[in-house]
Symmetry: C2
Subunit: 375 residues, 2 copies
């Protein structure tokens, strides 16, 4: 990571040090090591990164991590803990001993460890070097994300088919004699994803009033004529990469307002796709979608279009760049979502979300599934 | 949380502030709110905790969180970001404005936010108040964990049955004409868990050489006469609580050494269960298991018994107390694992892991499944 070397140098430090499990996407990016227990990543300027793990994990780290493995014993921790019982102080002594100079740390570095390190060295907090590096994907990363997207569409396709083939009785959708619920479809989506090695994370299948609250996961029977938002954002167990996709469908005759909202959202998404290109900012693209909605009579405050237009997708399902107020420049290699939505309590919600790559020329959509409202 | 008030007071602070998503188990414990995006938790001394969320999450937080919800706009952030573009500095201004005094933060608090807060107030890093509170479970929490354990045993039972009913040909275990692999069983375990609302996390089903490395997940065909470690540690999607359980089985005739190892591990686990009681330390119980193994000729360094005897289980699958070197006092209400293991490259690994509650009198095992080696 040359970028990291530059950041270390410009901070006047000797090394970059991170601490955490692979739930921290930066850590996973830097080490490519899956672990629920925290590890230390340490990169001295001009050298390859090192991952410090327990004796028990050394063998696996040698096989799986892109960083050079070192045991805690090799790093000196076993000796240190004989004298120093405080865990953070012991780690600080180990790290300071290995680096022997000032240290650059990521913003999410634990405050307790930063405090203890300050007894030995200067600690400089990096702004977002790794986060920014992660935002620009290699071809290999795009391939990994596209694979998750395929699994996502398979799961989405199954759920939409279930709604399509349901029958309404007294306003409720049925599969045979059983009411078709959010929970049933969420479980089926999870199983479809699992069969492709992906893990469903809080899949949203929300209907009617629930769909008017963007992050409500949804529960209970699905209903005729009400908008049903399906938002699926799984993670590949193997690679850690994610995808993100939403569709909104209705079974039966929707209220005229819902049809209008759907058409506006579809138009907004198509517009956004034409605006994306390297050099423009996430703020600009978002702003133009706000304008587009405004022209059609839809507000963007506590009702209407109440969230950002989109976000980067990678090892985290929400990462840089931001497509919203304050969003910075887009760059070729970004993988982003375009997900305009409209939300009106009393009417329901509509969201359409495609994910694609920012190319030199514009936006290459990785989402194949058509955008149909009535099924 | 009275404990938290005590910690705030003894640090001379006015409030406790945490920042993170619900992947941070402390945050989930304090708010009972599921979120992949970071939120702020803020508790002033003597008052109920507040959770600061986006406008979009306010409605859901009102329904789901045990903390009182407040939007970022209500907290002043919307105004602050008009002037202050740096995210951490903006949050620091918001928090300092709300608290108006010194602040206690958890050890994992982001270093970047701590730095920015220091421009306004004194920041005291708490050692482990919430971690320690989490270690002592309420009856409700034990019930939640026991429910995950039931799901875990159902999944474990299915996997062990599959191995039992397999047939060996040329040293490989088959289900009909298909070699029975780690991957097949891992997937079936995940599906069994999912049907009970639980998420499999990196299930280990490792055979032979792989089983000699404790954290190897395992891959490829399972083999006759080789030890097969099954270690399942899922999380309940709804409650966030986890369980943890391991069994080791063999199909066909194992080497005599494996039999001896299994008997020693079973004996060690039974011994440990008699030693657990409030007031003894995790270090003592671990030490006695080390002695027990030593008497039987099994070492505890880079081979043999190479990991801790156990750990607390709760919202994190590894939490306090530690049953290993340095482990502190056990208390009634702890939920812990007892998982002795022996690992010898060239021979294989054996691990047995039960999870149970520390009661006033001793150890109440929550694990029902028998410990059988040959299936």
């Amino acid at each position: 990571m040359e970028r990291l070397d530059d950041a270390i140098a410009s901070g006047g430090a000797k090394a970059y040090v991170a601490y955490g499990s692979s739930l921290d996407a930066d850590m996973r990016y830097l080490t490519r090591f899956r672990t629920t227990d925290p590890v230390v990543f340490l990169q001295k300027i001009g050298e390859k990164g090192t991952i410090i793990v327990s004796q028990m994990e050394y063998e696996r780290a040698s096989r799986e991590s892109t960083a050079a493995p070192m045991t805690r014993a090799q790093a000196g921790l076993t000796e240190i803990v004989k004298e120093e019982k405080n865990r953070w102080r012991a780690y600080a002594r180990m790290i300071a001993g290995l680096v022997g100079g000032d240290i650059l740390v990521p913003p999410q570095f634990p405050a307790a460890l930063a405090r203890e390190l300050e007894a030995f060295v200067r600690v400089i907090v990096d702004e977002d070097t790794v986060l920014k590096a992660r935002a620009v994907k290699t071809d290999e990363e795009v391939t990994a994300i596209a694979r998750v997207q395929e699994a996502t569409e398979a799961a989405m396709g199954g759920a939409v088919s279930s709604i399509r083939s349901s029958r309404a009785r007294k306003g409720i959708l049925y599969r045979g004699r059983i009411p078709l619920t959010s929970e049933i479809l969420q479980k089926e989506v999870a199983i479809a994803l699992l069969s492709r090695g992906c893990r469903a994370v809080d899949t949203i299948i929300s209907c009617g009033e629930d769909s008017a609250i963007p992050h409500m996961r949804g529960s209970g029977p699905l209903r005729e004529g009400a908008s049903i938002i399906l938002d699926i954002f799984p993670q590949d167990e193997e690679t850690g990469y994610t995808a993100d996709m939403s569709r909104t469908v209705v079974k039966g005759e929707p209220a005229a307002e819902l049809n209008e909202m759907f058409e506006a959202v579809r138009g907004a998404q198509s517009l956004a796709a034409t605006l994306v290109r390297p050099g423009t900012t996430g703020a600009e693209v978002h702003g133009k979608v706000v304008d587009y909605f405004k022209e059609r009579g839809f507000e963007s405050n506590t009702r209407g279009f109440i969230h950002n237009l989109g976000h980067g997708v990678g090892l985290d399902v929400h990462e840089l760049p931001v497509l919203g107020p304050g969003g910075g420049e887009l760059a070729a290699g970004n993988v982003i979502t375009l997900e305009p939505g409209l939300y009106y309590p009393g009417k329901g919600g509509i969201r359409l979300e495609d994910m694609g790559v920012v190319t030199k020329k514009g936006f290459r959509d990785l989402t194949r599934m058509p955008r149909e409202f009535r099924v």
